[in-house]
Amino acid sequence: MKDFIIPDRDFGTPAAKSKTMVTLTIDGFEVTVPEGTSIMRAAAEIGISVPKLCATDSVDAFGSCRLCLVEIEGRNGTPASCTTPVAAGLQVHTQTDRLKKLRRGVMELYISDHPLDCLTCSANGDCQLQDMAGAVGLREVRYDAVQTHFRPKNTSGEANPLWTPKDDSNPYFTYDPAKCIVCSRCVRACEEVQGTFALTIEGRGFDSRVSFGAKTDTALTSDCVSCGACVQACPTATLQENSVIQIGTPERSVITTCAYCGVGCSFKAEMRGDEVVRMVPWKHGKANRGHSCVKGRFAWGYATHRDRILKPMIREAISDPWREVSWAEAMAFAAGRMKGIQEKYGRQAVGVITSSRCTNEEAYLVQKLARAVFLNNNTDTCARVCHSPTGYGLGQTFGTSAGTQDFDSVEETDVVMVIGANPVNAHPVFASRLTKRLRQGAKLIVIDPRRTEMVQGPHYKAAHHLALTPGTNVAIISAMAHVIVTEGLMDEGFIRERCDGEAFADYAEFISAPHHAPEAVEALTGVPSAQVRAAARLFATGGNGAIYYGLGVTEHSQGSTTVIAIANLAMLTGNIGRPGVGVNPLRGQNNVQGSCDMGSFPHELPGYRHVKHDDVRAVFERVWGVQIDAEPGLRIPNMLDAAVEGSFKGLYCQGEDILQSDPDTKHVAAGLAAMDCVIVHDLFLNETANYAHVFFPGSSFLEKDGTFTNAERRINRVRKVMAPKQGYADWEVTQMFARAMGADWGYTHPSQIMDEIALTTPSFAGVSYDKLDTLGSVQWPCDDAHPEGTPLMHVDGFVRGKGRFIRTEYVATDERTGPRFPLLLTTGRILSHYNVGAQTRRTANVVWHAEDVLEVHPHDAEVRGIRDGDWVRLASRSGETTLRAVLTDRVSPGVVYTTFHHPETQPNVITTDFSDWATNCPEYKVTAVQVSPSNGPSAWQEQYEEQARLARRIVPAAE
């Protein structure tokens, strides 16, 4: 880590975890450190920095540079301080005449084969080789650089065979072998931190070179996932961010939180003026522990992309072009329309959608707008279409609606069960932590219709991959529970002590019935019963068992039932309430947990408290000075139904693109088209904006203060590093709109909004910006009983008291294959893109994934005459689209798979209106389809593109 400009101390080697403490003396100072600590780190603890090049505290010690030598009294030689562990009573010297001479000699050799172009080097001022030359007092180099690896030509003008050209194939960083000192930090970071093993050292001795995979590979064509760990580890300019090459070194850094997925990585935004130079993962971030993925690390260019809309716009009708107006005019127009709608159609005729990409404070204000200004509960959020079943299922069984663990917990897991999730692609930084544990020997069970990237990776392989037929989650998980109960593998002590006995007796009787046996459901699920039995036995008896799941669980007609089944399984096996276990929903968006916490759902106020409760409403009524409706409001699909019927006419939609992300696009379009006032508040003219009358330009996460809450309930600060390009942070825009509607809101900083959240919401009672600044982050519940937050939930008892087992009968989805639609479509995502792609498509990430493709099994392709790369027509009873086919056996015969990152493809034209029984979460993961050869875009795609083109016309304001 090049930390010399903006220091974030590098201790040289990772911290030791031992509880046994050891005392030694270094340069005459006594120091006490955990057993297993290196001498280098012990010295760093007391402020003594031993010179080093190949050591950095993100990877294990390697002992190759020979610069960190020390002398130890009573021991021979000059051992490397990075690889030598401390021992009681050692007397260590880090600076002696002998050591000084040795270090100078080592540096002299390094420098003799290094280009001395420091002034024009991209690492100038931020280079550890330069720093170490200074630190050891190198004053002369006695060796002439005759045969070098850094000059393209030798002194006679012939090509130098030792020279390798720069590799600039990756859009975000450049590999310049000429600057390399072969310290292996990049190779080790790729292995230990990321777990991809894309890098290696090619050759031996003087021929040693860092190489991306095979000799013929480039950074782009190799297995490299562009996480940036190698770039961060490199001590020289060998692996350098292109942004640093272009801009120069940063001058300050601000700790903030990534605005991509629900892992919630902490980053240092390294700045020069108001320009971001680079985003570097912050090693003290408790979610990511110094790691990152390609999105957070590199794909932030969308924040300043030319497509961003910076002026408010309005139009009478969606067939008109947009008209740029002042903020005041936009507010007056929007408020006038919304008030008019409420006067004409009643107060229930309008609603809001809060954003899972905006801050907690912003989501809180948007739902407050509905409840306290519109005076209804018509508020919903994108979690409706992803994890609403998690809220329901975990609420019913455990009494709270969130993951039970922190991410650190995975380090103590023995058996990991990943269900309907592909963290390698969708939650990559968590996946790196998970696969590290798998490489250490933890066992893995994957339940997924597709052979995802999770199933097998470098140096690990799932013990069981249950490749079930889409839509049979409940059957398979119930079958596992059946095995555990009937074979007596459950944790009876835990159940007796922690769970409701009557509910368990009922459940045990239910689940023991023969029709839940793996053999009985084999025909349904397509999974051999022996595999199910073996997986169940492993999970029940393999030690600490942890379940991680994603949208492959929730986005089904039985999404909520599956969440309940998962909770049952964790309780049966006693895997709740300690490190290494638990039920962990992997949340999709950066603040989807937070938007749910903040009362975005139409039936509950902040903190998951139902609006029907008088005492809960009273809290908010007192603070807000209004009467709150006691009836639940409309959920997104219900809003659209009501719009089509004519009783819902106005929508304020913040940071969400429902036209692209919600199922059954035609129905969404019809609902939006039926409204009189659609207000879209976003960075870009998204697809939903094609049906909008008002556009409020949004601000990026770099432009505002606030908090995001990640999948481990961790509340992280988001900090403003630059002024909003369109003038206002999103919370200010919502406030302006509320004021235009007649409210008297007067927040001047998001911390005041958090104070109001703490005042009204018990699980946030102890949260304040002061505390977050002091502690870095806290996990809710954070209150008087847990002033520093709660890393693990349900430790001494469930939130609801006793854990409740609930029956989980399998009910087949109504979406069935038949002669017209014989295949099942399931959907997912890819590493380089995020959600509907509005952000990542506006970055160089498109080099990895320029379009959505359809994965088809070769058997299914052959009978349809489809070849790899062909255009195919994908049709369901809802609609049809076209995209290119890729033939792969990752999917089973009968199953096809695609992603949903590109609006041109519109896979949601295909998905149906079926949804989860409890929450209306759409059934994205199962659609009966047919695939056939095609010549190009469908009529719908052409018509859609034309509509979008017309809807995006803008008439600039007269200057």
């Binding site: 159609y345 009643g346 107060r347 229930q348 306290a372 200004v373 005076l375 209804n376 509960n377 018509n378 009922d506 239910f510 007609s557 909520s560 039932t561 139409p602 039936h603 139902h610 029907k612 807000w624 000075g625 209004v626 009467q627 709150i628 409706d629 009836e631 639940p632 409001g633 409309l634 959920r635 219900n638 139904d641 009501a642 089509v644 019927e645 004519g646 009783s647 509607m741 007649g742 409210a743 008297d744 809101w745 029956r807 989980t808 009968e809 009910v811 109504d814 809802s878 209106d913 079926f914 949804s915 029984w917 409890a918 929450t919 209306n920």
Partner: protein, 92 residues
């Protein structure tokens, strides 16, 4: 669930029937009294009055298409006022 031939009102009604029946399918696996109460509570807690009003329109017309448990739970489901939402106190 055919879409092409129906008016928006029919589509919405059909959708509600499907939704109510889905809830019933889950609740039917429970002991009868618990399932009955569970179904009614679920609809009371999560269905906006407009949706309950439409459900009652179906129930009052005999409940065609609804599973027996939904029809049986009708007396436990809160019947919304016939009109749009009543006025609330003044806004802030």
């Amino acid at each position: 669930m055919s879409h092409e031939t129906h008016t928006p009102e029919h589509q919405a009604r059909d959708r509600l029937i499907v939704m109510a029946n889905q809830i019933a399918r889950f609740m039917e696996s429970k002991p009868h009294a618990e399932g009955l109460q569970g179904l009614a509570s679920h609809i009371n807690d999560f269905w906006e009055p407009r949706m309950r009003r439409q459900l009652f329109a179906v129930l009052d017309a005999g409940g065609a298409g609804l599973r027996p448990l939904v029809r049986e739970a009708a007396p436990l489901i809160r019947r919304p006022l016939p009109d749009a939402a009543p006025p609330l106190g003044s806004r802030a």
